[in-house]
Structures are given as structure tokens and as C-alpha cells.
């Protein structure tokens, strides 16, 4: 029964799977961050029609299961447009869009949390709307948003496990394969869980360090 044993080499396989999750997480978080912030800027300028469209799309993305979105992109888009969508492409599109929707909400509420007095103080000295955003609102909003943002990212890291369902060989998928081979679910899923935990903990730790730096000078920590 050699093949049924859980060996050290299997840990390497799991680590490789985790690498897939982390790569996808980093890529989709970055794309989501860029898109989400761009959406928030459109809203800041109150661009007619476009602002409403963005709010509606982000509502759709936030209020439906990621798994359903993933199926829609992976099975639905090829069916409708007769194009080929690989599992990795589908996962990247879905998770990026989903992350963008949440980052949009965080960014908008962070900008709105900064008092009108700050905008007025900058506007009376002749700063343009962009300069106000860039120098006065964004730095303060970032300090406000970084907490919710870290919570979101930790969650999005776990959500990447959903891609195993459409055939991407990630940590969860490899766990599944090892489980079938070894028939030791407790050992396999514990190992898988611990690896996700370690990765999430790392994200949270890095985030907290970043947060402390951003908030070092802020009044609401009382210095």
C-alpha cells in the first residue's frame, strides 16, 4: 500500500497548489484594486450615467455567490459568445471583478468618511477637485480603508479555493486528489487548512504593518 501513504512529497504538491492560489490572489487583488479605485474616482466626480452603472454592477457582484459568478463566466460566456474561456481566465475575470466591487464600496465609504471641512479647507485655497482627492482625501481615506481592506483580502484569499471546482489545480484540488489516493481525509484536510491559515495570517500580518505605518500620524489614534 505504498501509494496510499501520506508522504513528505505530498507536502511539496500541496505547497505548489498554494502557490497557484497565492498567484491568483495577488493578480486578482491587484486588478481588483485598480478597477475598484477607478470606479470610486468616477463616482467622486459624479460622472452621470457611468456612476449609476458602476453602482449597479457592484451591487450585482456583491449580492450574488462567487461560485455562481464563476460558473456564469466559465460556462455561460463560452455558450453565449462561442469563445474559449480557460479555467484560469475565468477565475481571473470573476475574482478580479468580485474584488473590485468590494474595494469600490470600501473606497467610496472611506472618501465619504472624510469631513466636508477638509474639502472646504483645500478648495478655498484654489486646489482643483483632483488635487483635493490626491493630496487631502486619498491619504486620509487610505488610513480609514486599510482595516476593511485587509479583512477583504484575507477573505478573497480563501475564496480562491472555489476555482478548484472548475478544474484549476490549486491547493484545494490537490487536497481532493490526495484525499482520494490516501483515504486519509483528516490528515489531508488538516494540512490543506493549515496552509490556507498560514497564508491568510501572512496577509493579515503584512496588512497590519502597513496599517500601522499609514496611521502613524493620524489624529484619531491620539498620538
Amino acid at each position: 500500500m505504498r501509494f496510499a501513504d501520506f508522504t513528505a512529497f505530498d507536502l511539496v504538491l500541496l505547497a505548489q497548489g498554494l502557490g497557484v492560489n497565492i498567484a491568483l490572489f495577488l493578480a486578482t487583488s491587484l486588478i481588483g484594486l485598480v478597477i475598484g479605485i477607478a470606479w470610486a474616482i468616477v463616482r467622486y466626480y459624479r460622472v452621470p450615467v457611468l456612476s449609476e452603472v458602476i453602482t449597479f454592477v457592484s451591487e450585482l457582484l456583491k449580492n450574488s455567490p462567487v461560485l455562481v459568478q464563476l460558473f456564469l463566466v466559465f460556462f455561460g460566456l463560452p455558450g453565449l459568445f462561442h469563445i474559449r474561456v480557460t479555467p484560469v481566465t475565468a477565475a481571473t475575470i470573476t475574482l478580479s471583478a468580485n474584488t473590485a466591487a468590494f474595494i469600490y464600496v470600501i473606497a467610496v465609504s472611506a472618501i465619504e468618511s472624510i469631513g466636508r471641512d477638509q474639502i472646504e479647507a483645500a478648495r478655498v485655497f484654489g486646489l482643483t477637485r483632483w488635487q483635493v482627492l490626491r493630496h487631502v482625501l486619498a491619504p486620509q481615506a487610505a488610513a480609514f480603508a486599510v482595516g476593511p481592506l485587509i479583512a477583504l483580502l484575507v477573505n478573497q484569499l480563501q475564496v480562491t479555493s472555489l476555482i478548484s471546482v472548475i478544474g484549476v489545480v490549486d491547493l484545494t484540488k490537490i487536497g481532493n486528489i490526495l484525499n482520494m489516493r490516501t483515504l486519509k481525509p483528516f490528515v489531508v484536510w488538516t494540512a490543506v487548512g493549515l496552509l490556507y491559515y498560514a497564508a491568510a495570517k501572512l496577509v493579515a500580518l503584512l496588512g497590519t504593518r502597513f496599517e500601522n505605518r499609514l496611521r502613524a500620524h493620524s489624529a484619531w489614534r491620539g498620538l
Partner: protein, 244 residues
């Protein structure tokens, strides 16, 4: 010259300014007195373009505040100091003062910082350039607020109850600086509750009541029994202020 002509402003059903006419010549120090809710702060907020007018016109050196294109130019000519300081909490004192000169006037950073440091020196805060607003006392914050406005080299300084949030000791700190600016010939529009101080530094005193300009007289005449004091509302207001 700041020219306020028949300015009307209402918030919903509430009329706040009801046909104000006022002219401020360069070099003048004009104080605006009046009870809370008389429209003093709103008038300042109309002059620096923070409120849209419902009627009338305000020009700062011929630039119409009501026209978006001219507002930018008008704003470059006036500097506002706020009641609650409104400093940028994430920037150092130096950053607060140099932001607008660098971004709006396109001054080189080194020059803007040199100007800022000289201003800070003149208000006794030369050593606090690298502090954050949260590390300063109220009086110090308002002195930074004044430096921030002065760094734009405005022709007109608009002061909106700049000592209302300060205790008497800190108020004295700030008023001393304003007295110095008045002596140096800075044009100031000074909304205040500090009647005695207004009397000392102002060339003219304007009294607002329920959104209307009731009295606009040279300081001496304003406090004379047959001048501003002849108005019952003014006499009543001043007697109340003195009791406090």
C-alpha cells in the same frame, strides 16, 4: 476691493442673508459683529465661494465669485482662516502650509518651505514645523491656520470666528498675531465675538441682524451713543456681550 452687492442666500425656507451690500477697500480692517445665526459666517462663506448665492453678486478685485472660471482667480486673492482650524491631519505643519503654494501657485518646494518657515517663525512656531496638527494645542493650530492662509500671499484675509474654539489664553495668542497683521496693513474681514478686540483693531464695524446689514460705520462712530449704539439691536447685543 471686495464688493458685495445685494447678496441673498437661503437654506431651504430659511433666509440667511437678505440683501447685503458691503465694500472692503485694500488696507481696511473690517469686523463683522452680530448674534449667532445673523449670517456672519455665511457671508464669509459666500465671499470665498463655499456657498452659492441665491441673488446678488460678489466680486473680489473684479473677479466674480459666482462664475466658476473667475472663482479660482478670486480664491487666489483671498485667504480663509476657519473657526475649527480645518488643518489637514495627515500632513505636518510645514506640509499644511506649503500644499496650496506648491499645487496652486506652482512655487518650487524649497521656496514654499522657506516662506512657510519664515511665517512660522513670525508666529512663534518656528520649532514646530515637523509636528502634526494632533500634537499642537488649539492656539498653536490656529496660528498654523493663519500661516496657511498667509502663505498664499492673499490680498484679503477672511477670518471666520477664529478664536471661538479657543480658551482665553489661547485666544490672546491668536489675537496678538492678528493685531500685528492689522498694523502691517493686511486687509482683513473679521467675523468675531471679541467685541473689545474688534474695537481695537478695526477701521470699520459692520453689524448684521437676521441676515440684514443693520449698521456699517467707522469704529469710533459705531461705539458712539449717537452712532451705532443708537440702534436698539446693537445696544442690546453689546450690553449682553459685555456682561459675559
Amino acid at each position: 476691493m471686495i464688493k458685495v452687492e445685494n447678496v441673498k442666500k437661503a437654506f431651504g425656507q430659511t433666509t440667511v442673508l437678505d440683501g447685503i451690500d458691503l465694500t472692503i477697500e485694500p488696507g481696511e480692517v473690517v469686523s463683522i459683529l452680530g448674534s449667532s445665526g445673523s449670517g456672519k459666517s455665511t457671508l464669509i462663506r459666500c465671499i470665498n465661494g463655499l456657498e452659492k448665492l441665491n441673488g446678488g453678486q460678489i466680486t473680489v478685485d473684479e473677479f466674480d465669485v459666482g462664475k466658476p472660471r473667475e472663482l479660482a482667480e478670486a480664491r487666489k486673492r483671498s485667504g480663509t482662516v476657519f473657526q475649527l482650524f480645518n488643518l489637514y491631519p495627515h500632513m505636518t505643519v510645514l506640509g499644511n502650509i506649503t500644499l496650496a503654494p506648491i499645487e496652486v501657485l506652482k512655487k518650487p518646494r524649497a521656496e514654499a518651505e522657506a516662506t512657510a518657515l519664515a511665517l512660522l517663525e513670525s508666529v512663534g512656531l518656528g520649532s514646530r514645523a515637523d509636528a502634526y496638527p494632533a500634537q499642537l494645542s488649539g492656539g498653536q493650530r490656529q496660528r498654523v491656520g493663519i500661516c496657511r492662509a498667509l502663505a498664499m500671499q492673499p490680498r484679503y484675509l477672511l477670518l471666520d470666528e477664529v478664536t471661538s474654539a479657543l480658551d482665553p489664553e489661547m485666544t490672546a495668542e491668536v489675537l496678538a498675531i492678528l493685531a500685528k497683521l492689522a498694523q502691517e496693513g493686511t486687509t482683513m474681514l473679521f467675523v468675531t465675538h471679541e467685541v473689545e478686540f474688534a474695537r481695537q483693531i478695526s477701521d470699520r464695524i459692520v453689524f448684521l441682524d437676521k441676515g440684514r446689514l443693520l449698521v456699517d460705520l467707522p469704529t469710533k462712530e459705531f461705539f458712539a451713543a449717537d452712532g451705532g449704539m443708537a440702534q436698539p439691536r446693537v445696544a442690546q447685543f453689546l450690553s449682553k456681550m459685555r456682561k459675559d
